[in-house]
């Protein structure tokens, strides 16, 4: 809901670019929302009601109609208190941590943000917005909340988070209280994977020993699931029996090391070449072989596993933009 933005909200968002608006610089976690960085402006509905009340106030004063004035001042009091209340909902919220498992450029990056808050107040109706993506949540007293914000990605490398807006319309929808968050956290985005890439250059490198692709047929052993393992590696039946996630580990001693070489993708333009290499890294990891990554400026020795894969993809992601 609330996809339309009224004029006041657009105004507030536009003002965010002003140098005066806090926070002025990106800041390191944890970020605590203090009173001097909370902005409160009425919503369109709030302005409309305000205009109604002013009309009624003038009418009531003119006729010296005391019940009408009492009514107006009661609503004015409620409205004013709702501004204060909105401020209090925001004040004291803390952004503790940001984490995102890297995705490939072009995919949606689910960013997990962990919030908590001081004091025994509950903070309902919070909304976190970054660009076009938004997420609604609430914080109970003495509780933490993890909010997932789906950010679109376009290019590899560090994704600088733009301004995050944490806002609330509570308690009455008359005003929006918001605060800008500019965490200095960087989120990694892997290079986009090439579609329809040629098969792995398996035989590259020193070709003395006979290649025995034993993948799949060879006896394997099971190990605990580790973050980053491919879902297809999970041994579902075995996991169900053991009541925990187990992953097949292939005997790869027989498999030859693969060298993924920058030059092997030679005729391609720079970025496409990175995409192909990234695809090959993923394929190589999936094949269960050891693989090395050779780049013009550096070489990553052969290895295997989630961490090795991450290292390779990270290196590719962080190659200077050509």
């Amino acid at each position: 809901m609330a996809a339309t933005r009224d004029a006041v909200e657009r105004f507030g968002d536009r003002m965010a670019a002003l140098a005066l608006v806090r926070p002025k610089k990106p800041e390191s976690l944890p970020v605590r929302i203090t009173r001097n960085r909370i902005y409160v402006l009425p919503t369109g509905f709030g302005l409309f009601l305000g205009a109604m009340l002013v009309t009624m106030l003038v009418g009531g004063l003119n006729y010296n109609n005391n019940p009408a004035l009492l009514l107006v001042f009661l609503f004015a009091g409620v409205g004013h208190n709702s501004l204060v209340h909105a401020h209090l909902i925001m004040s004291g919220i803390r952004l503790k941590a940001i984490h995102a498992d890297p995705v490939f450029a072009g995919q949606v990056l689910p960013v997990k943000l962990r919030f908590d808050a001081d004091g025994a107040r509950s903070r309902p109706g919070l909304q976190l917005i970054c660009g076009e993506s938004r997420s609604d949540f609430e914080l109970d007293a003495n509780e933490e909340a993890e909010v997932v914000l789906d950010l679109p990605t376009q290019t590899r490398g560090w994704l600088e988070m733009s301004r995050l807006r944490l806002s609330t319309l509570r308690p009455l929808g008359l005003a929006r209280a918001w605060s800008w968050l500019r965490p200095d956290s960087r989120l990694l985005v892997y290079p986009a994977l090439e579609l329809n890439a040629p098969p792995l250059p398996e035989a590259l490198g020193d070709g003395d020993s006979p290649r025995t692709r034993a993948h799949g047929e060879q006896p394997h052993h099971l190990r605990e699931y580790r973050s980053g393992d491919m879902p297809r590696q999970i041994a579902w039946k075995a996991s169900a029996r053991a009541d925990r996630l187990l992953v097949r580990e292939y005997e790869s001693a027989v498999a030859r090391d693969i060298t993924i070489d920058w030059n092997a993708a030679h005729p391609l333009p720079y970025e496409d070449r990175i995409s192909r290499l990234a695809r090959w890294v993923v394929e190589a990891e999936r094949s269960g072989s050891n693989y090395a990554l050779v780049l013009p400026s550096q070489r990553i020795p052969a290895g295997r596993g989630a961490e090795h894969r991450h290292l390779c993809l990270r290196t590719l992601a962080l190659l200077p933009h050509g």
Partner: protein, 647 residues
């Protein structure tokens, strides 16, 4: 872009709008109210929008009905009914967030409009739930999860309660307008009150009204009840059927009066009538503010009385008119409609020839009334010769018959006479020590001109012997209240006095507040006539105080909702911190208390014991009965470090 609202939200919005419309609905004619309610219900249950032409047709029909109900006159009442009709039609197109917002915004006008017409307790008490429901509906329109019914209501009540300090600061201190910016809208109908017309055949409008007309309190001496004549419009023109006012005298300044006895001071709180006449105690020496005494000594307000008016006046029960009666006034006060009441005129001429002294004539007339006439409110109708019929045939009547007949008689006998309408007597409220005068206390009496003294009050109705009073308004009321309730009315009198007293206090404190009283508000702090800037400052200070109070409430309204045992444990940790041991956030409870206990010689075991039991319950899943829990809470809260163990 249209954002639809779900059904529950729509229901809340419609409910709030209905609650807002209710005070206004009570003020429109019954059949129109029924039509509008039916329209509203139809609109509420139309979940899908109607075709445009049908809506247009319905709108035109309802608009026509509203105009028709008020005789096609555009006045304040008509506009209010129009607003009401709009509110009732609006739900037909309330399906999106935007529509809901505008419905809720415009419904705020409904109680406001109701207050313009009526400031009675009913309107006020209906407005409060309307406000609360509006708040709930507002909060429902905010996206996100919502509390269920009871917490919603509680929240709305809390928001209202917290708004009270701010509202009061605004109410008392926001600078008021001493003179209105624009005129008051003319109303198409007035309320019952003393009118410009009196017909013996018809009751005074006021007589059928059981609501309060005004409340009066005497400052200092209280006159005897028989002297409490509250003077209203004076009627001088008689056309054989009805008595009407004199247009000329209305704009004349009041005649000069010379008090010959003690004067009486009083304070009146006059309920709104939407007419311009006020009441003053006979004979008035002072004029209520923003009004003037006209040539007939009627107090006329500069504006129609739309709000409660409060004024202090001074009167002289015995006063002399210093100026002679102007010729034209004498002519008017002697004129009779030609061709009416030959028998009365003949009798008057006859008596006049026997003794022309007005006082003697009056005495004879009164004696006749006393011996032969009876008072009843259900008098038979009289014909063309109304006075003849009354004096010689029916001999039954109430104040209008008596005063009219006396005036005709005296005029025929050559004594300038006029009819005065007003209020007499009233009910004394023992709790508030004031007099309450209702519509049914309206009365009509006469004044005759005596050379050398001026206008002198004569009340022919008072001549009726008590045993000849057959049927009074009180009896009628008792009959209407039927049997038991009527009998109980006597016993309920203290209760009635109490509620009326509360009503008066509310009137005094709230409804009668205006710019003049606001100026005097700062008198306790030494500012006699507050200037605008002083009021603005006071308003600023007042709202700042109110804001402080609100903040305090907001910060403290969220109570700790964790289990009592956990609260008790936190209290223990806090008390230990005060004693000098701080629990690290990462430190498990038991390690913390062991660390502390190691430094406490004799208190150690007790501390270990309670914290062991606590951790067993909290972390090891050990069940505790209510009794055990209470004991543990006592142990945790009651733990004290003895003096010699203090660090």
């Amino acid at each position: 872009m249209v954002e639809p609202i779900d059904r529950a939200t729509r229901r809340w919005c419609l409910l709030a709008a209905a609650a807002c419309a209710l005070p206004l609905l009570m003020l429109v004619p019954g059949w129109l109210a029924a039509v509008l309610v039916a329209t509203g219900l139809l609109a509420a249950y139309s979940e899908r929008p109607w075709p445009a032409w049908m809506r247009l047709l319905l709108t035109l029909t309802i608009g026509g009905l509203v105009l028709g109900a008020y005789g096609f006159r555009i006045g304040r009442d008509t506009s209010c009914a129009g607003l009401l009709a709009m509110l009732m039609l609006k739900p037909f197109e309330t399906h999106s967030l935007r529509d809901a917002h505008s419905l809720l915004g415009f419904s705020l006008f409904a109680p406001f409009a109701a207050f313009l017409q009526d400031q009675g307790p009913l309107s006020l008490s209906l407005a409060l739930p309307a406000v609360a429901l509006s708040l709930i509906a507002w909060s429902r329109l905010v996206p996100g999860k919502h509390a269920s019914l009871v917490p919603s209501v509680r929240q709305a009540a809390a928001s209202l309660a917290m708004a009270v300090p701010m509202a009061l600061a605004g109410f008392w201190l926001f600078p008021r307008l001493a003179t209105p910016l624009w005129g008051l809208p003319e109303n198409s109908f007035s309320r019952a009150g003393l009118g410009d017309r009196m017909t013996p055949n018809e009751w005074l409008d006021a007589l059928v009204d059981d609501s309060a007309a005004f409340r009066a309190r005497f400052i200092g001496n209280t006159p005897p009840r028989t002297q409490m004549y509250w003077r209203g419009p004076v009627l001088v023109h008689f056309d054989g059927e009805a008595w009407t006012r004199d247009i000329g005298a209305i704009s004349m300044p009041g005649p000069a009066l010379q008090s010959t006895g003690a004067t009486i001071r009083y304070e009146v709180m006059f309920e709104p009538t939407e007419r311009r006449d006020l009441v003053v105690l006979d004979l008035p020496l002072t004029t209520p503010p923003q009004s003037q005494l006209n040539g007939e000594l009627t107090a006329v307000s500069a504006e129609p009385v739309n709000n409660l008016v409060r004024y202090v006046g001074e009167s002289a029960p015995q006063a002399r008119f210093t100026d002679p009666l102007p010729g034209w006034q004498r002519r008017v006060a002697l004129s009779l409609p030609p061709g009416h009441d030959p028998r009365t005129i003949a009798m008057a001429r006859q008596w006049q020839s026997e003794d022309p002294d007005p006082l003697v004539l009056t005495r004879r007339f009164m004696a006749m009334l006393e011996s032969d006439f009876k008072y009843t409110i259900s008098a038979p109708p009289v014909g063309f010769n109304a006075t003849d019929d009354f004096l010689f045939e029916t001999k039954l009547g109430f104040c209008q018959h008596f005063s009219s007949a006396y005036a005709v008689f005296m005029r025929a006998a050559g004594v300038p006479t006029r009819v005065v309408t007003g209020y007499v007597g009233g009910h004394y409220n023992k709790i508030g020590k004031y007099w309450l005068l209702k519509g049914k206390d309206a009365h009509a009496w006469n004044e005759i001109w005596l050379e050398g003294r001026g206008w002198v009050r004569v009340d022919p109705t008072a001549a009726i012997a008590p045993e000849n009073i057959l049927d009074t308004l009180d009896d009628l009321q008792a009959r209407q209240e039927a049997g038991l309730a009527g009998a109980a009315a006597g016993m309920l009198e203290p209760m009635f006095d109490g509620t009326d007293f509360l009503r008066r206090q509310w009137n005094q404190l709230v409804l009668g507040f205006n710019a003049a009283r606001q100026q005097n508000l700062l008198r306790p702090i030494g500012i006699d006539e507050a200037q605008a800037w002083q009021l603005v400052t006071a308003f600023g200070i007042g709202s700042a105080l109110a804001l402080g109070l609100t903040l305090w409430f907001l910060l403290h309204q969220h109570r700790d909702r964790s289990p009592p045992l956990v609260q008790a444990w936190r209290a223990l940790v806090k008390s230990l911190r005060r004693a000098g041991w701080t629990k690290e956030p990462s430190e498990p409870p038991l390690s913390f208390t062991r660390r502390v206990a190691a430094e406490l010689a004799s208190d150690g075991p007790a501390l270990i014991s309670v914290s062991q039991r606590y951790t067993d319950w909290r972390y090891a899943g050990r069940e505790l009965t209510d009794e055990e829990q209470k004991a543990l809470i006592r142990g945790l809260r009651g733990f004290r470090i003895t003096r010699r163990n203090r660090p």
